[in-house]
């Protein structure tokens, strides 16, 4: 990070464009922590929603087909879709929490504020990744299990509850990600402009 007279200047585009980087660590180091933070928000939201959507279409296709011959399964098996939806909501909630941590940066920062911002930036990014990836896997898992649940229920009604238990275990995976993510951003605070 460049220091100019003991202060750090953000978003000096001309300076950044004319810099000659000599190593990748220098390049990565110059990425603004706010970029990291917002990317983390995007990843947590986007990956969770991709996982949830994937799960919903997998289970939805099977549900549609199976309910043609066995209409009684329609209402019960919407629970699988709701579980997938919950995965998307985890991602949404976490993204809102992350957005709350972001503050408008001051024009200049002292080195301690800079360190705080850098730490928070990385923290938010990787917390977003952990929530996003675990929800992605969770969504697909619940979707595949849900499709199996619909097909099994259409044949033998007694199997519905048993397969639902498998789905509940599957949806716990998303919760794990959410919990770890919240712990990760525990001490991530951005310096605000008012100070």
């Amino acid at each position: 990070q460049r220091r100019v007279h003991g202060e750090y200047i953000f978003f000096d585009q001309l300076e950044l464009m004319s810099t000659n980087y000599t190593s990748y660590s220098q390049l990565f180091g110059d990425i603004s922590p706010y970029a990291w933070a917002n990317m983390g928000i995007a990843l947590s939201l986007g990956l969770s929603i991709v996982g949830a959507a994937w799960g919903i279409f997998i289970t939805g296709a099977s549900l549609l087909g199976a309910s043609v011959k066995a209409p009684r399964i329609r209402s019960k098996n919407l629970i699988s879709v709701i579980f997938c939806e919950a995965v998307a909501i985890y991602g949404l909630i976490f993204a809102i929490i992350l957005s709350g941590r972001l503050q408008t940066p001051p024009m200049t920062m002292s080195p301690s504020q800079l360190a705080q911002a850098t730490f928070s930036g990385y923290s938010l990014f990787w917390a977003g990744v952990s929530v996003g990836v675990s929800n992605f896997a969770c969504g697909i898992c619940v979707g595949v299990t849900g499709s199996g649940c619909a097909l099994a229920d259409a044949q033998t009604p007694e199997t519905f509850v048993k397969v639902l238990i498998i789905e509940i275990f599957g949806s716990a995976l998303g919760l794990f990600g959410l919990i770890v993510g919240i712990i990760q951003i525990g001490s991530a605070y951005f310096p605000s402009a008012k100070q």
Binding site: I58, A61, S62, L64, G65, K69, S147, L151
Partner: protein
Amino acid sequence: SEMCIRDRYMGSKIKIIKFFVMDLTFFAINDGYVEAIIRGLRAGFLTPDVYEALKGTNSLQDFKTVLEDTDYGPYLGSEIQNVSISVLRSRLKRKLADEFSYIQGQCVEPLATFLRLMQSQYMIDNIVNIIEGVKNRVDFDYLISQADPLGVFPELKAIKSVDPENYSELYSTVLIDTPVGPYFMKFLENVMEALNENISINEIQALFRDIQPEFIRTSLKKMWLEDFYEFCQQMNPITKEFMEDILKFEADCKTIQVIYNSIGNKELSSAANRSSKRKQLCPSLGYLYPDVDKDIANVTTIEGLRDAVRHIQQYREMLRDVPDPLKREEFSADVRGLDDMMYEEEVRKYSLAFEEQAHYAVFYAYMKLKEQEIRNVIWLAEMVARKLPRSNKGWNKILIPFQP
């Protein structure tokens, strides 16, 4: 390759998806709905209770009443007092054909090609039957009504307009447009190849006229089987695994049946014809191919056949109790023939296909199991119509799928 069906399908965007594993996560994109439909239809199979009720009926009318309570109800309802077995059979087949035409309407590639290949075997049957029927001056409308509904396609009616004895013209005008056209082309090429170059056109026509329909049918089915196998190699791994096993077994059954049926037949098992004609009828795939090929080619007795398949336990057991075709007195209703053994093993394999999700073999298995069910029902209808006593062993000759 000459097999057009596979070439027509290749080169599409499915090639790209081939690099992903089309397993549980990707299967539902294109085929989730139709697979779920098939699984829902699985619930419509007749249970052992229904079979017991059918066995207990005294007349065909009661028989039909029992059937009306099952999934077949809507197809049997509007029948008049005297229901005949052929009408029953055609109604049951009609139901299966309707189910499959619905599924064909809902599916996309590559399942559409898979289903078309699946039904090609019935198309072959229909075409050969119609050609033979027209040759023997049978009424064309009657032939069309007797055609297997699973293998009906628009060009079938066009066979009427062509002289059935002129095979090459028949092929170039009518059959070339059909989905089974490539098989006919290959068949014609094979027959031409086996002839000398300096045979006149008239002799070729005479030769085609003399070819037995069974020979045509078996050759075409062999080509179809090989083409289907090639196609299944490109499918997702689960489909490939199941279909490989099923098709290999079917090919072996065909091989064994060809040899078995030709044991008593002097013409086919003579040394000259053994390598050419008989070989032509045996598919070049299966568990017996190519290791046992040479042994099988020289078989002339049932003992020789049993000896040739001794390495594979399944076939060894299957052939152990089968009656000798040379000794007609061994055949009776009690003895389980080769067909029965093969059906039983096939039913077991098809039932297993339903245990796995995200593959196409369920469609094939469903069709075959439904066919077996129709065979069961018609068999029981015949037993009921002839009023045979319950002690007759024929009552137990039915094969019920999904039995543990």
